[in-house]
Symmetry: C3
Subunit: 140 residues, 3 copies
């Protein structure tokens, strides 16, 4: 859908916060109902997920230690009546190898975040038969 630009925010999340919970709280506090999120930094003990179609669930991988947050790309929309950030991350280990997937959890060591609010109709995640919660799709 076509959206227009709302407010923009550039900030650092305090050390020790859980990334996703912080962004969901930020969106709720500032009433950001639709938006995009990007970030770089460093995360501790991140949990990432790979969606397994057969089981309809995420396979969870718990990485231990500190990882460079090489890329973080996400969007904000409504899920269960509240603003919710869907986030994917690429994480670098101490040898420069990259790991990643759907961000389930990650403790912030450093997170420099850009949030762009978007304005438009309500965009809502609805439970699907395959186990995911998705927006209605839009064809050409």
């Amino acid at each position: 859908m076509k959206v227009s630009k709302g407010r923009s925010f550039l900030f650092r999340i305090p050390e020790g916060e859980e990334f996703g919970a912080f962004i969901n709280g930020f969106a709720k506090k500032h009433n950001v109902l639709i938006g995009t999120v990007t970030a770089i930094g460093t995360l501790r003990n991140p949990k990432i997920g790979y969606f397994d179609e057969e089981s309809g669930r995420y396979r969870v991988m718990e990485l231990s230690g500190t990882y460079e947050l090489v890329s973080l790309t996400g969007n904000i929309s409504i899920k269960d009546g509240e603003p919710f950030a869907h986030i994917h991350v690429a994480l670098g280990d101490s040898d420069g190898r990259l790991w990643g997937g759907h961000l389930i959890e990650g403790e912030v060591f450093v997170a420099e975040v850009f949030v762009q609010e978007l304005l438009g109709e309500i965009l809502e995640r609805k439970p699907q038969k395959n186990g995911l919660a998705l927006w209605d799709a839009e064809g050409l």
Copy 2:
């Protein structure tokens, strides 16, 4: 070059579409001549390319199965007279390992996309001696 902001679009591509073809079709339909594209989601059987300078061609890698679309970064400009999206992707396998490069082809399972139209002079890809099609470079 300096550009100004045009329209913004946030949407989910229907399952089964080929990502690049869909974005090129979207740009053509909405007359987006310059822009940026980002996305997260999941792709099936993606083909990625590594540009090999010696041969002046992309080395093509065909990944089979379903991959988390960890990051997708692209831009839209004019190639052969039509809007064309140049896209790079990072893809996560079921062990959380990342693979990626130039996106040649990828079937959408889930794709949540943000397109930002930009307005400015025509920005066109021109064939180079090295085998790539590039915009004119701009020095400082």
Copy 3:
């Protein structure tokens, strides 16, 4: 902090330039004091860093050869009185494997860059006890 949108730039950096130095020079030339940077392309002999908390320094990894620049995410703010770009990258080798972290150095083969200027209060990196230079953190 809340920021507003300034100018936008989409351009290709000439072959042979060092990526970070070029962006710092670009920001200085155009007086971009706060902003975001994204890019795709190809880099030669990139040096990436992993921040090691124990030593308070980056562990430097020198990659040799040409790598697809799969994602580049960065921000611009003030460090030591001048505009400074903090950049993380994901890089793809000829087998499609991804490597990455903090971008220390990278020679441009191709770099297609989008810079978004942001306007707001001065945002400054200050030396921390842990060895990093960071913005003040903002809680909820």
